[in-house]
């Protein structure tokens, strides 16, 4: 990570790899390792100092020459006499005192919310000087209403919900934003054990499936999957909105034949012997977004510093959760009744990735659930195309504009940079869903290319 190079190090080699392969050079690797050991203050000071040094001597060769001539510590001392590094560090570290430190954040008890939930017991919020209360909520409609009503300052939402709220689908149009994506992948199609011979989706006609919410990736992915196999999701099967935590109880009661839901719910169905995992969502689209950390535009503009501090906490927590070695302890931290309220082994199977599939096999996929905070605008465009495809959006929509307004990629990139992470250089990318390429620049053509659609 070039971000953490020490510009006072005159002997830094310019090219060559490092031991772990993630950095340009061994020095960058060491720098990143050193930075991860530093406390925040030291890290911020260093980032500021290097920025100043680079600004003064933009040319690498010149800077090296200067450093070699006077020595690193003399250079630093010299610069600090005419440039107030201490003040600059302060300005950088405290992007400003949070306007509000007592916050309430709503969540649904599923593993998608892992960063939001674990940031509480593991202290990511308090590290940013925030006193956050994470409040478990009964369902997506309730979390939407409570966030709109300002009972919650920010909330865990399905990534499509802020788009729907901003467009006024299923509520009054209120400008909402996706500050960061929580998780990628991590969902599974689960069927009741009695259907264990019906693995071919073509045989699913007449079944009843549960999805968490109408405006969810789950809905769009399941519809996409069914339609690709020639099943019309509106006429051949029944799709029902059921809050994820209630799905297993419904599957047991035979109210539904299956569901596409977060991994901990799928795993719970397996754990209780009522269902089996048919396929993981990453088999449809590896790296798809699922849940988001969302807030109203009003909150963001009224309390920008609080928002920035929250975003830092979430990005930090997401980064921590994306590391495989932390997953086991995270499972233990979020299992108690105050958080997800589920057996630790169920959460561990979802987070660590060694899991029982419900048919007697043990499978292993460490990234069946992964975490990546960057809110790609292309994700929003894809969701909008599916909203359009299934008739949730009537009439025309400016895909790129809505995506840019709701998915705050620039803010996230800024915070990621501050945290010492490397955000992607662009906010759009192409990807493919079930082998079909998606180009965010041509959304209308994409919608038109499907045989089964409502618009």
């Amino acid at each position: 990570m070039a971000m953490f190079d020490n510009p006072f190090d005159g002997s830094r080699r310019l090219r060559s790899g490092c031991a772990c392969g993630k950095h340009d050079s061994q020095a960058a690797h060491d720098a990143a390792a050193r930075v991860s050991r530093m406390d925040d203050e030291a890290r911020y000071r260093e980032i500021t100092t290097s920025a100043v040094m680079r600004a003064l001597f933009p040319d690498d060769v010149q800077r090296r020459g200067f450093l070699k001539a006077v020595g690193a510590s003399t250079a630093a001392a010299a610069i600090s006499t005419f440039f107030p590094i201490a003040t600059a560090t302060e300005v950088f570290a405290q992007t400003g005192k949070p306007e509000k430190t007592d916050l309430k954040i709503g969540f649904i008890p599923i593993t998608c919310a892992t960063p939001i939930i674990m940031a509480h017991p593991l202290g990511f919020y308090s590290k940013q000087g925030l006193n956050v209360e994470v409040v478990k909520t009964a369902g997506w409609a309730v979390i939407r209403d409570k966030t709109i009503n300002k009972e919650y300052d920010a909330a865990h939402m399905l990534a499509a919900m802020p788009l729907a709220i901003s467009l006024g689908l299923g509520s009054n149009p209120i400008p909402f934003a996706v500050a960061a994506i929580e998780n990628i992948n991590g969902q599974a199609i689960t069927l009741a054990v009695k259907h264990k011979d019906k693995t071919d989706p073509k045989s699913w006609k007449g079944m009843k499936f549960a999805i968490p919410f109408d405006y969810s990736m789950h809905n769009y992915l399941l519809r996409y999957y069914l339609a690709e196999h020639g099943i019309d999701p509106d006429t051949d099967v029944q799709l029902r909105s059921v809050p994820p935590p209630e799905m297993v109880a419904n599957l047991r009661a035979d109210n539904i034949d299956g569901f596409l839901a977060p991994d901990n719910i799928a795993q719970r169905a397996v754990y209780d012997g009522v269902g089996f995992i048919h396929s993981l969502s990453k088999q449809m689209w590896d790296g798809h977004p699922c849940c988001a950390f969302a807030a109203s535009k009003e909150f963001i503009s009224e309390a920008p510093n609080t928002y920035a501090a929250l975003l830092r906490a979430i990005v930090d927590a997401t980064g921590y959760a994306s590391k495989a070695e932390n997953r086991k302890s995270i499972a233990e931290a979020i299992a108690p009744a105050a958080y997800i309220n589920a057996p630790v082994t169920v959460l561990e199977q979802a987070l660590v990735g060694t899991y029982a599939d419900g048919l007697g096999n043990i499978k292993n996929d460490p990234v069946r659930l992964d975490f990546d905070p960057f809110p790609w605008e292309s994700f929003a465009v894809w969701m909008l195309t599916q909203m359009k495809r299934w008739g949730q959006i009537k009439g025309d929509v400016d895909y790129a504009k809505v995506a840019q307004q709701v998915f705050l990629a620039t803010d996230a990139a800024k915070v990621m940079k501050e945290m010492g992470l490397t955000p992607p250089a662009t906010s759009t990318k192409t990807f493919s869903v079930m082998g079909k390429a998606f180009d965010p620049a041509k959304p209308e053509e994409y919608v038109g290319s499907f045989a089964i659609r409502r618009s």
Binding site: K136, A138, V142, E246, Y271, D272, G273, P336
Partner: protein, 279 residues
């Protein structure tokens, strides 16, 4: 020879014991058998799959859970995990507030309707239409307009407990014996004094019947309302444990809900006995 009361108590105890034994037997007979699982795989599965135990808890499991809850009824682990006692207090608080508001609205309105035929005829269609609406149907509307989930729950309690009280008050007031009112009129008692010294005592038993019905309904509804809005309360507790599929906790909650409901009902029954008069 022992009295009926003692015999009834004995019979109750017998029924209780019998049902416990049947429950115990039923649970322990059920889950046994099934194919043996690979131990590695079994480790990833729940007890009912891995071992020979039924998913349904037995009376002993529930008893153990009950003792555990009664030992620490008021613990508080943050907003999402509170003791059973605290949750019950939250629910009772909501019911008390909604119910008191309903009482404050229903009594004067009921008097008005009962004393004036015009008001009765004018308000009757509204009451008839609104009365049969399930209180939970109000929830989305309440959440949308009041914009506060706690207040919405209280509003739902208010709206469900207002009707029985209103109707019973109106009925009680309207059916005060004509002779008593005539005596009052002969003695030139003013309308305020007549309402308080003649009509109120005469209608009190009917009003209290309405209040008793209302408190029963309010207690039924609070559980459902809290399951919807979540946060705190015994309804949230049931929902949270349902998510966790912890049936023993749900059964413990059911016992507690029944117990509190009975206590509320008995309190009003006692009041009712106090105001009842022999004709």
């Amino acid at each position: 020879m022992i009295g009926v009361r003692a015999r009834a108590a004995l019979l109750s105890a017998f029924i209780f014991l019998l049902s416990m034994v049947v429950w115990h037997m039923a649970v322990h007979g059920g889950g046994a058998g099934g194919p043996a699982l690979d131990p590695e795989y079994a480790k990833l599965m729940g007890v009912q799959m891995a071992g020979a135990k039924s998913a349904m808890p037995g009376p002993l499991d529930v008893g153990a859970k009950l003792v555990e809850h009664l030992r620490h009824p008021f613990y508080n682990n943050g907003p999402n995990d509170k003791g059973l006692g605290l949750q019950l207090l939250y629910s009772i608080g909501r019911v008390a507030l909604g119910y008191t508001l309903a009482l404050a609205a229903a009594l004067p309105l009921g008097f008005l309707i009962g004393m004036s035929e015009l008001a009765y005829k004018a308000l009757d269609p509204f009451i008839q239409i609104l009365k049969p609406v399930s209180p939970l149907a109000w929830m989305p509307l309440a959440l949308y307009t009041i914009k506060d989930s706690g207040l919405s729950a209280i509003f739902v309690i208010f709206i469900c407990s207002v009707w029985p009280m209103l109707i019973n008050t109106a009925f009680g007031v309207a059916s005060v014996r004509k002779e008593w009112l005539n005596v009052a009129r002969t003695l030139e008692v003013g309308p305020w004094r007549r309402a308080i010294t003649v009509i109120l005592p005469a209608a009190a038993p009917t009003i209290l019947t309405g209040m008793r019905i209302s408190v029963g309904i309010a207690w039924l509804v609070i559980v459902a309302a809290e399951m919807l809005v979540g946060g705190t309360g015994i309804g949230y507790f049931v929902w949270n444990e349902w998510n966790n599929l912890s049936i023993s906790n749900v059964i413990v909650a059911i016992l507690m809900i029944g117990l509190i409901g009975m206590i509320l009902d008995q309190m009003l029954a006692r009041c009712q006995r106090a105001v009842t008069f022999p004709e």
